[in-house]
Amino acid sequence: MNNGNIIQVRDLRKVYRVGKVDVPALRGVDLAVKKGEFLSIVGPSGSGKSTLFHIIGALTPPTSGEVHVGDQDLSKMSDADRTNMRKRTVGFVFQKFNLLPNLTARDNIGIARYIAGMDAKPEPEFEEILKVLKIGHRLDHKPSELSGGEQQRVAIARAIVNHPAILLADEPTGNLDTENSAAVLEVLRDLNQRLGQTILMITHNPEAAAYGHSTVRMRDGRITDRT
């Protein structure tokens, strides 16, 4: 970690090979995120937001450049190291919720702990978080029995149950109506304020972006602006 930054990215580049063509997705990104910061990332489709997320979230390696999350250097990690990092350091919230359809909400949260090598039952203190998320009474239901807003709040609970250093939310309100969107954004802000949870959120919605402390704009694989 440098200067209180939990995320430090320097000259990050990512090139995807599509058939015989190299497609650059990131063309030299520099980014610093402080611990406890709530950062919104906006930009048009294809601007490299999701690629940046996937690299910071250890889902894919960078082509070149430096990426530090906490004291870990992602650019030098093996596939197994990145898998280990996803267990406890990063939590994901996706636009399509991505809950396991065959498991109840409780088990969806529990499996994240189990994979991280912990007891599937969360600590008693986690009950408070569940109250904030307002899903305590819905834990024994499967995703198909939950509303979109409830599913996304379960996904948030799953993402933070292992106390990750960073929470990455990729269009968390993209599949929700206005009311549920507001509820989810309030929850994210609440978690940031109460727990000091570092959050990076991709969004197309300027109102959603306004929930963050600051906003980064991306275009053509580069950060163009930070406000």
């Binding site: 996937h54 979230g57 889902l59 894919t60 197994a80 898998t83 280990n84 990092m85 996803r86 267990k87 406890r88 994901f92 996706f94 991505n98 809950l99 396991l100 359809p101 065959n102 498991l103 088990d107 529990g110 499996i111 994240a112 189990y114 994979i115 991280a116 599937a120 799953r158």
Partner: protein, 367 residues
């Protein structure tokens, strides 16, 4: 938690799971039925041989242990053997296959055989009264729904049922030896000779003396116990390779069914695999989930296969009790189950490795 995930996955697609279990169960049933029939037929032959009450059997030259059909020996041998030292009595028997390979008929000299065996246990009727009389056992009577006084057609000849005996001695169908020899063109010929030793004589000594008799050179002579013990699966030509082939088929079916089923499951669950990977699920964890599911399907298939073998056992016992004596061979449960589960695990390996190798980003984007 892995167990719960696997169990819920199986529960989530009940039809796929049940079909997989059923198809995995089929080779288990096949193996258990084949082994059960082999043991049953061999055990039945042993019991019938012991039930004769003889001490020694003399077989035709160059005959195999199980070949019990045909009459290549001259009937005069019976009198010759009866005169040998240590032999109290001898009786010749003609054995022929009545219906297929499983149902034997035997021609006997009733009085001689009665003296040797201690007598048939008649459930109804009695001994032969006419040359075309036949005695059948209760299994055959039940299977063919025959009673005393009815006519049965065996060896293309109509026979009159004079008595029904308790099963377990010699053959399902017993007829007068002379009539049988006439009707089958074997006048003066017999299949084998049974002997009883004089009281106090040692069976092994008499057997040895017969074996050393130059007039009986090349005729296999066995004590009844020795002969019964030779009736084993290992001594039936081709049976062991056949069982191995069926076991191989079991492995292939288990492999193919589970490979197909799990490959489909992996395709259907691509996004879920991506979710598990995004949570930090390692390749070995993903593989473990897939293998555990295959293992559970294999165990389910084994249990169903065992139950279906009981079904086959019941059907045979109810519909054709005299033709195929099947037994349940418990020792083969773990073998049949193990073979099938190995097939299932091998079959799930490729889908499992495919799932484990999924790129998490591509898997999460899968629709």
């Amino acid at each position: 938690m892995t167990g719960k995930l696997v169990f819920e996955n199986i529960k989530h697609k009940p039809m796929r799971s049940l079909l997989s279990i059923l198809l995995i169960g089929v080779p288990v049933t096949l193996i258990l039925c084949l082994v059960g029939l082999s043991y049953g037929i061999i055990g039945d032959s042993q019991n019938r041989t012991r039930g004769i009450g003889a001490d020694i059997v003399l077989r035709p030259k160059n005959s195999s242990y199980l070949s019990a059909s045909g009459a290549p020996m001259p009937q005069q041998m019976v009198a010759f053997l009866a005169r040998q030292p240590g032999v109290k009595m001898a009786t010749g028997v003609v054995n022929l296959m009545a219906e297929g390979v499983t149902l034997g008929a035997a021609g006997i000299n009733f009085d001689e055989f009665n003296a040797m065996s201690g007598g048939f246990k008649f459930l109804s009727g009695g001994p032969f009264q006419r040359p075309d009389d036949v005695i059948i056992d209760d299994f055959y009577a039940n299977q063919k729904k025959k009673k005393v006084g009815d006519t049965i057609k065996v060896l293309n000849v109509d026979w009159h049922v004079s008595g029904i005996i308790q099963s377990g001695m010699l053959a399902h169908i017993v007829m007068p030896i002379t009539t049988m020899q006439e009707k089958t063109g074997n006048i003066g010929k017999i299949s084998q000779v049974y002997m009883k030793v004089v009281p106090g004589a040692k069976v092994s000594d008499v057997v040895e003396s017969l074996r050393n008799n130059p007039d009986l050179q090349d005729y296999p002579v066995f004590s009844i116990e020795e002969f019964a013990s030779l009736l084993s699966i290992g001594n039936v030509p081709g049976l062991q390779p056949f069982i191995i082939v069926i076991m191989g088929i079991g492995v292939v079916i288990g492999f193919a069914v589970v490979c197909l089923s799990m490959y489909m499951a992996v395709l259907q669950r691509t996004r879920e695999i991506g979710i598990l990977k995004s949570l930090g699920g390692s390749k070995s964890f993903i593989l473990q989930v897939i293998l555990s599911e295959a293992l559970l399907l294999g165990i389910g298939g084994t249990i169903l296969g065992i139950l279906m073998s009981y079904g086959a056992y019941w059907l045979i016992k109810t519909l054709v009790p005299a033709s195929l004596p099947m037994v349940i061979v418990y020792e083969w449960w773990p073998i049949a189950g193990g073979i099938t589960i190995v097939g299932a695990l091998l079959g799930s390996l490729y889908p499992g490795l495919t799932a484990a190798a999924h790129d998490p980003i591509e898997a999460l984007a899968y629709e």
